[in-house]
Subunit: 362 residues, 2 copies
């Protein structure tokens, strides 16, 4: 069934506004545009580099908020401007991917799409590329949606899980998905990990544009109608106008909830390549190098009797004494000091600042 | 015995180089020149204001390191320049006071001296002034050295103690000192406080210049010889040269260890006026106003779930989440984050910086 001529494209979703990396991430420059691991490469650039192992730059699409278009252009000069797709409004992932599918279908007739969030980290890039390549092949061969699952290494409660069928894959490593599970509590997460039948939902997918368009026609007809109009207008002088008028009319819905959970047959490929969604400051201790005391250090940091901390520095010296499980993030106009176990409350601070009318700090 | 015409002078000792308030205090601008309590008044200015209740500016003397002379001039424009006495080298308190006594004796013949450190805080200034006034009167009447003791309110291990005689003072509130005690361990400090016979050694004293000069002649003859030469040269064209040559030859010794502990008869007046030597960052929680969660806040600070902390801000917002017993000090070029119980290790950081040749941060 595989069409050997089907081109391979990548769609990087870069429209997120995540506040969990405040004060480094700001409304005007969210997480995906930051270099959080201190190596000078932003999350978006890492994602592009990752996918470049498989897809040439002219087949890479980036979907993002209009506000971030200049950031994307300056961080990914290799990607043709016509491949930078603008979401006139935030409508979650199902419409985001629909926009990309419409453009790709118009330009290529049909194509394989590797869909990736712009703000995750991967430690073992070659293994990841291999899994993505196999996912694309499976999506083509089975004419089905394929999601990349991650073999869980601990009972994380911050991820969604995929229950997969334990039927023999016949050596292909491609399994049918039983169902998706929302973020579990710790006890449930432990059971998931112990059972061996659950994977982390990575938010990375492979499918043909035509498969996705067919799926939204079935599960999200309102999205499909607008997507048809976008495809029709794509690469005509009226596209910008149509996009501005039509896109905001789509419902805000995730691809998981709006499409995948309704698909009767879909597949997962379990991967294990040091993936992490880097959801908040404490996760840097998981994904990046730490010192012998378990401290993640980015910047000019001097410590004494300090362990299990996260330091993300700015221009100044950070001196830490006697700290355990503390996050310190230094920027020009705001400083965050936070207990590791309270990192989910960063948004309480940004809410307070918003209420106080201090938008310049957000 | 009291000479009603004896003028009252004050000697403020402002030569300290304390590193315990790093990074706000720096070698070039130590604690006494900082406004640590966030009210814009420096410790030195507060000390001057305190003593101004009793002593006119032209009778106030400040002894300090040559490096700090400009700081003193700018912070205390009221004090005549000829009363700013320069220590050519750091020689601890006995020589510091000897220099002041020499100048005062030369100019006034004799005078009462109220001797005060420049870097302590007092909450109840009128009560403090009253105790100092009574101490001066007792020093004149008894022709003896009088030290201000502080009725201890808790078993502080960071202060020296004064054991005083429980003989009835005859309503004068002036007691004989039995002996001085070094900083005790916690158990000993508890016994001291419970006994009722111990006071904190505040480092504030009252005596006549002639009494002090007599005492050093007896207990520190090497200091006394040089002091005589300084007194001789004072207010002559050769004073600067004599000071530069002679002062550094004095031994480095404290007035407690070199003089007071050897005096057969000396007195103490117990006072209770919210005195604190503000020895380190955690002490700000004792001496200054805290919020309902026990946080000391100076600067632009937003907190969530945070208690018992010390925030000393700079130009930027400090956001604190889930912290307990943490010190955060923000300056333009260095940031300190420190557990309250580890504050004594601030010097470990300054030592490291010195070893690393980063003197610009000290």
């Amino acid at each position: 069934m595989q069409n050997p001529n089907l081109p391979l494209t990548a769609v990087i979703m870069a429209g997120g506004k995540g506040e969990r990396f405040w004060p480094k991430s700001r409304v005007r420059c969210p997480k995906q545009f930051l270099s959080l691991t201190g190596d000078g490469e932003t999350m978006l650039q890492k994602t592009f580099k990752r996918i470049s192992r498989l897809v040439p730059p002219e087949q890479v699409y980036v979907v993002t908020n209009g506000e971030y278009m200049d950031l994307v252009k300056s961080q990914l000069p290799e990607v043709p401007e016509s491949n930078l797709l603008r979401e006139p409004a935030a409508r979650n992932t199902a419409p985001c991917i629909a926009l990309a599918a419409a453009v790709i279908a118009k330009r290529c007739g049909d194509a394989l799409m590797l869909v990736l969030p712009a703000d995750h980290l991967v430690r073992h890039e070659p293994i990841c590329a291999d899994v993505l390549e196999r996912a694309a092949a499976a999506a083509a061969e089975k004419d089905a949606m394929v999601t990349i699952g991650i073999t869980p290494t601990y009972p994380e409660t911050g991820y969604g899980y995929i229950a997969f069928s334990d039927a023999d894959s016949g050596g292909t490593g491609v399994y049918e998905v039983d169902c998706f599970k929302e973020k579990p509590d710790l006890e449930t997460a432990r059971q998931y990990v112990e059972s061996g039948n659950y994977l982390w939902n990575s938010g990375m997918f492979a499918w043909k544009a035509s498969t996705y368009l067919k799926a939204i026609r079935e599960h999200l007809p309102a999205v499909a109608d607008i997507t048809d109009r976008l495809q029709e207008a794509c690469d005509t002088p009226g596209f910008e106008k149509t996009l501005l008028e039509q896109f905001p009319q789509m419902p805000s819905i995730s691809v998981d909830f709006g499409v995948l959970e309704h698909e009767k047959t879909l597949y997962t490929i379990p991967g294990s390549f040091g993936w992490d969604d880097v959801g908040s400051w404490p996760s840097l201790r998981r994904v990046a190098r730490t010192d012998t005391n378990g401290n993640y250090r980015d910047g000019d940091v001097v410590t004494f009797g300090t362990k299990n901390c996260v330091f993300s520095g700015g221009k100044r010296l950070i001196a830490a004494i006697g700290l355990d499980h503390i996050i310190v993030v230094d920027t020009d106009d705001a400083l965050l000091v936070c207990d590791v176990d309270a990192a989910q409350n960063v948004k309480k601070i940004t809410e307070m600042l918003r209420e106080q009318g201090r938008g310049e700090l957000l």
